[in-house]
Symmetry: C2
Subunit: 199 residues, 2 copies
Amino acid sequence: MARPRMFDEERALDAAVRVFWERGYEATSTQDLCDATGLGRSSIYNTFQSKHALFERALARYLDTMTVTQTAVLDDMERPAADRVRALLALVVEGEAECREGSGRALGCLGVNTVVELAGRDPAAAALLERDTVRRLAAYRAVMEAGRRDGSITSSRDPEALARFLNATVAGLRVSSQGGAGPAELAAIAETAMDALTP
Amino acid sequence: MARPRMFDEERALDAAVRVFWERGYEATSTQDLCDATGLGRSSIYNTFQSKHALFERALARYLDTMTVTQTAVLDDMERPAADRVRALLALVVEGEAECREGSGRALGCLGVNTVVELAGRDPAAAALLERDTVRRLAAYRAVMEAGRRDGSITSSRDPEALARFLNATVAGLRVSSQGGAGPAELAAIAETAMDALTP
DNA sequence: CTTGTTTTGTATTGGTCGGTTCAAAACCTG
DNA sequence: CAGGTTTTGAACCGACCAATACAAAACAAG
């Protein structure tokens, strides 16, 4: 009944995630988004209503995929909980090393980046981030409780505190990566953090 | 021989630190800087050559004062090293709680904020940040070595790794704060981190 | 006072920002 | 092929950006 789209909306969204990830929200212009997605202005504003709305969708998409892969690792019931936490940290370390390829510079994590850049003055972004944090903290807490039961995680601190500590450690790893730390240093940080979690 | 300044350059710089701290680099306009410092455009561009040059001076000033107060705490030779580290973390936690007053929102740390926003594409800022990180890591490492000698810090990991872990913990605390964590949660994170540092 | 130098406020620069308008092009349905 | 609907590209919008030009004002030195 009408002319069909010449582009894949999800692909465009992925490209938007990438450019927001690389440059942040403020430093990304609508022209950057056009270049990265290959779409024209009209197509972008026709599909997503504004730069901000596009950012919200990009952020939500990023957070969702990130958290899903993280919780997938944490929910592998076969292994002891501490091993799963180790695997999560390895995932983070490896992810940081990975996105450093080519450009040479680390990108950190769009979630952490957005917390720092926008959480204080963008209610929509703050809401998305808080929702994701709650979700991730719940997963972290669950694995800490499992570890307390199977004995692989210390019971000298309550699971809530351990979960928050793990969350802070992940953020610390990502900032350290952007600050110039290499894979070896990140791995050392992760191992040291595990000392606080294991009995 | 000529007309004297009507403003104090250091005060203006402090005001610039504050506004860059609150909004970040990109989101701060020259008008914001005029409003915050009380200076006119000409005075700003006459004194500091550009927005970017002013930012460099503001960042350098912030990093210096921050690192000086941190190392002052760490160099208190009377107490065991572990206590000094605890005092440092308390300083960070308290600082985050403090800057949350009034506005309700945490500001994090201009250093961490800049690592995330600019380190990847602003060589000047990256250089300042790396210089500061090296300096801070040296101080952290020194206190870890002292702790190894006085027995208050674990000797099961080398001081370099412990220093990097402490650095990541500080960053993690600051991101957690911006992400909405309150003083109690931050304190719990700090305590848990100490578990990895003490024997 | 006058002279010389600096600071200061105002107006303005060219450029880019996010966003809109509009007509032509492209497609599906019948 | 024709009619109706959507997408698309390009020109365009006012607003704001960092930065500059310039002249009036304010001082110190003689």
